[in-house]
Symmetry: C2
Subunit: 230 residues, 2 copies
């Protein structure tokens, strides 16, 4: 699986290779295995993190014990920024779903790096803005769309960030349970299972244990966009 170099991460856009090297050099590194937690909701944070390799699932625990999957993040993605600049406690938990390496800059370091490289600050702002934008879309979806449509959109998003071309379609290259999909789309694992079964009968996807392969992406787009099925 080809892994883009970290230097091409959005956080480093527009910075010289030398600057990026300096910034990377200021980070601490840490490795994690599958099912490790890189952070727990409520832990104090004083750093900004970046995934260097592997994949992490960020979840939020509701008061009543239900879990909500906020997002999956992979190489080049950052997390902890919200906490570092505002709340000082992790608002989410991060569970490793694929062995990972994580970089960390403590808050003071990041602040001084930003002062030295203003572009870094702008990039960070752009990243946070992008998150806000995504979440607004998700809120819009949850408020106005049917479950089937939300699941279709979630699969397409996942395909984009972790899709792998196969002989027959696009495999979402992540251990992804029905429960995960339910927590991403605000439904139950039962409903997800039913929808996927239906789509399997229609030849749109090929679901498996903790895996989903998309056979006809276009059909999924049709559902996601709520177009008349042609």
């Amino acid at each position: 699986m080809p892994e883009a170099p970290l230097s091409s991460a959005p956080l480093f856009e527009g910075l010289s290779a030398a600057d990026v090297a300096a910034i990377l050099a200021a980070a601490h590194r840490r490795r994690y295995g599958r099912a490790d937690f890189v952070c727990h909701q409520g832990d104090p944070v004083d750093a900004v993190y970046m995934v260097a390799g592997g994949r992490v699932r960020l979840t939020q625990l509701e008061v009543d014990g239900q879990e909500v999957v906020i997002r999956f993040i992979g190489p080049g993605d950052i997390f902890g920024a919200v906490a570092a600049f505002k709340v000082t406690q992790f608002p989410v938990s991060g569970e490793v779903v694929e062995a990972s390496e994580v970089l960390a800059w403590d808050r003071a370091t990041m602040v001084s790096l930003i002062e030295r490289h203003p572009r870094l600050g702008q990039n960070l702002m752009a990243i946070l803005s992008g998150r806000i934008q995504e979440m607004r879309e998700r809120i819009g979806d949850l408020q106005t769309q049917r479950v089937e449509r939300r699941i279709a959109r979630a699969l397409l998003r996942l395909a984009q960030q972790a899709g792998q071309r196969t002989a027959t379609g696009i495999l979402i290259n992540l251990p992804l349970s029905r429960q995960d999909l339910a927590e991403m789309t605000g439904t139950t694992l039962y409903t997800v299972s039913r929808v996927l079964s239906q789509w399997e009968a229609d030849g749109i996807v090929k679901p498996g244990r903790e895996r989903v392969e998309i056979l006809r992406p276009h059909a999924l787009v049709t559902i996601a966009e709520d177009l008349p099925s042609p």
Copy 2:
């Protein structure tokens, strides 16, 4: 109604009075009347805005024409930052619900101000982080909570940002229709109406035409937190 001075806005936290004055001096000002739009979804943006007075409702239009209320903003609140640093188009529309004055810094100005006053950048980051945090909570609510609970939480949030003490309780000092509440909480105006009627019967709120007064805030908190009603 006592209006906190703009200089105490979160954006200016930790900056000297002189710095704040300089930053404010760099902004353009503009006035709007009720029902004016300060921005339309899709318009190009190249500036960061701050509400100096009045109140604005930010809404997002879904593909199918349904509206979603993202938030109400008032004096000291900023908007447009997401677009300025990322998408370059307003992701939302802003309708004035109470005559308003708005400040604007174009992107280049804001960038150079941030370079001159690093704290300004940190504050902006903190504000964006706060937004992300709020939206995560909202997503969690939408995915896991009943409508009644979401309405209670929305009212409490509104009371906090636009509440006015009265002889009998707290009045939400905004023209706020059932439709608005429905679009904030992801339900229909019919359901909102029914819930408010029930609460009125219980003596918790006193609903009126485009207005809601909270008589027993504590009861609302009980519902919002899903505690056993004592």
